[in-house]
Amino acid sequence: MPIPLLGLLLVMPALVIVLLLFIVPLVSSITGAFSVDGRFGFANFQKAFELYSSDIVFTIVIVSLSALLIALLSIAIGGYLTLGSNPRAVAILRWLYRWPLFVPFIVVGQILRTFLAKNGLMNSMLMQLGILTPMQTTSFLDWRGIVIAFVWKQTPFVTLLLAGAMASLDRSMIESARNLGASRLRILIEIILPQVLPTLLVGLILSFVTMMSVLSVPLMINAQSPTMLTASMAFRINAYGDYGVANALGVISLLTTSLVAWVYLRQTMREHR
């Protein structure tokens, strides 16, 4: 058998599964959004914008804010891991930062729901330390809770990628900059960051898509309106069986991510050349 045909045969089963169970439903979510009583129309979108425009804005703001915080934290942690002068502090940080890496979102939702509540452990500890009085405690179970959950879970992932890229950089340029008296912050921002920017971007985009897909965290932490689009879609289907509007919301979230994903796919495909 010629080699190209054999290769195709070996890839085919995996490809068929992804095509049938991801690409086809993806396409039907798009066609479903434009289908009104079996005909083409925009009524689903009209209704989606009427009922859920605050959720759309809420989702984009929350996810962008989380991505920004994740970027800042992972640059700070990765930068210290690469440039830190004390080996013991670096070792402690390396051991510490990755704990949330594989904690499932559903577990993140549960632990933060109990931790951030008005009577949760965080407020209790602040009260014990005398920083807060019982009257001053507030619940963080709103948009702040979602942002905290996303940052808590996704920062280790982006940091892992970023620290790996930083570690594989050529040290000689960093050392010579140090010898010339450049501060570590300046080395991080002017020498290291520009070289690892593609990795940071890929990590952030993957996190962006992940955050746009998570249903459990908004359901568990933010049981109020406005909420994330994922929760609105689930509600639309469970309460009304309304696939049209749910699919319209789906297309809106697809468009948001495809704008971001386009950057990612272009980057990855370029590396495969």
């Binding site: 190209p4 054999l6 290769g7 195709l8 070996l10 890839v11 995996a14 490809l15 599964i17 169970l21 991801f22 690409i23 993806l26 039907s28 502090a89 402690i92 940080l93 510490l96 930062y97 704990w99 594989f102 904690v103 499932p104 979102f105 559903i106 577990v107 632990i111 933060l112 109990t114 931790f115 009577n119 452990l121 500890m125 014990q128 808590w152 790996g164 594989s168 890929v202 985009i205 993957l206 898509v209 897909s213 249903l215 459990s216 359901l219 994922t230 879609m233 689930a234 289907i237 749910a246 919301l249 789906g250 979230s253 495809s258 994903a261 796919l265 990855t268 495909m269 590396e271 495969h272």
Partner: protein, 271 residues
């Protein structure tokens, strides 16, 4: 002079590391406390009474957790077998063979990473409902396979491309068939990477919520679904115990991942 300088520098370091440790371990401690709390209400900082009576009821033979745990493990094992079975040939072909439409194939395998999967699950659920796969183990396994397969193919491709070609060529030149070379040379060297991808797919399936929520519920109950129902019912002890069961294998994997995935394989993931 020098010694005091070093001592002083530990103040900001300890402060930063301490804050990070609080942010990471505070919530985790809270989970463990809830799992062993018998009585705990506001404004008490710590549980009033500790005990394992909830553990007994969760793990009783007729308890929900036992059923959900069994179901979760069955689904995760089937998912691993399917995903790895499909990923080994695909990964080998992508790493080693000349493929026509290589770019298009990679694109199809990257797309599930690049789009939110909830709209997809909604429509799979609708499709499965028509063909009677909703609420079945097969239906849930298929959804998990689609999700896990993409990671499995990536890691398998990376594991195969990290192998030195000369080893395979040496075996071939000594007269071994292509199949035998693959079985006796390539596969054993790639095994640690493939094992890591199997563990990863297992965990992804064990932790998967959204797809199971749409395709499986209410007939199929996995641990994440049990956690969700217990939590929304206000039963934080049951929810926390379930969360702890899900947490242990994940943290175990986090601690050993570097032994499985060597740096040279890790650096090739997604390339």
């Amino acid at each position: 002079m020098n010694a005091t300088m070093i001592d002083l520098k530990w103040i900001p370091r300890a402060l930063g590391l301490g804050l990070l440790a609080f942010a990471i371990f505070g919530p985790l401690t809270n989970l463990v406390l809830w799992a062993v709390a018998e009585k705990w209400y506001f404004p008490h900082a710590l549980p009033l009474q500790y005990g394992f009576s909830y553990w007994v009821s969760v793990f009783s033979p007729r308890g929900n957790a036992t059923t959900s745990l069994t179901m979760s493990v069955i689904i995760a094992c089937l998912t691993v077998v399917f995903s790895i079975g499909l990923a080994i040939p695909a990964g080998y072909a992508l790493a080693r063979l000349k493929l026509p439409f290589r770019g298009a194939i990679l694109l199809v395998l990257l797309i599930p990473q690049a789009f939110p999967n909830l709209p997809v699950y909604v429509n799979i659920a609708r499709l499965f409902y028509q063909i009677g796969l909703n609420g079945t183990v097969v239906g849930v396994v298929l959804v998990h396979v689609t999700h896990g397969l993409v990671y499995a193919v990536w890691i398998a491709t990376a594991a195969f491309s990290a192998i030195d070609r000369e080893l395979e060529e040496a075996a071939r030149s000594m007269g071994a068939s292509a199949l035998r070379t693959f079985r006796d040379v390539t596969l054993p060297i790639a095994a640690p990477g493939l094992l890591a991808s199997a563990v990863f797919v297992f965990l992804e399936s064990l932790d998967e919520f959204t797809g199971t929520y749409f395709v499986g519920a209410p007939d199929i109950s996995t641990l994440p679904l049990l956690l969700y129902t217990a939590g929304s019912g206000g039963n934080y002890q049951i929810a926390s115990i379930t969360a702890l069961i899900l947490l242990l294998p994940s943290i175990g994997f986090m601690l050993v991942i570097e032994r499985f995935l060597r740096a040279d394989v890790l650096s090739k993931v997604g390339r």
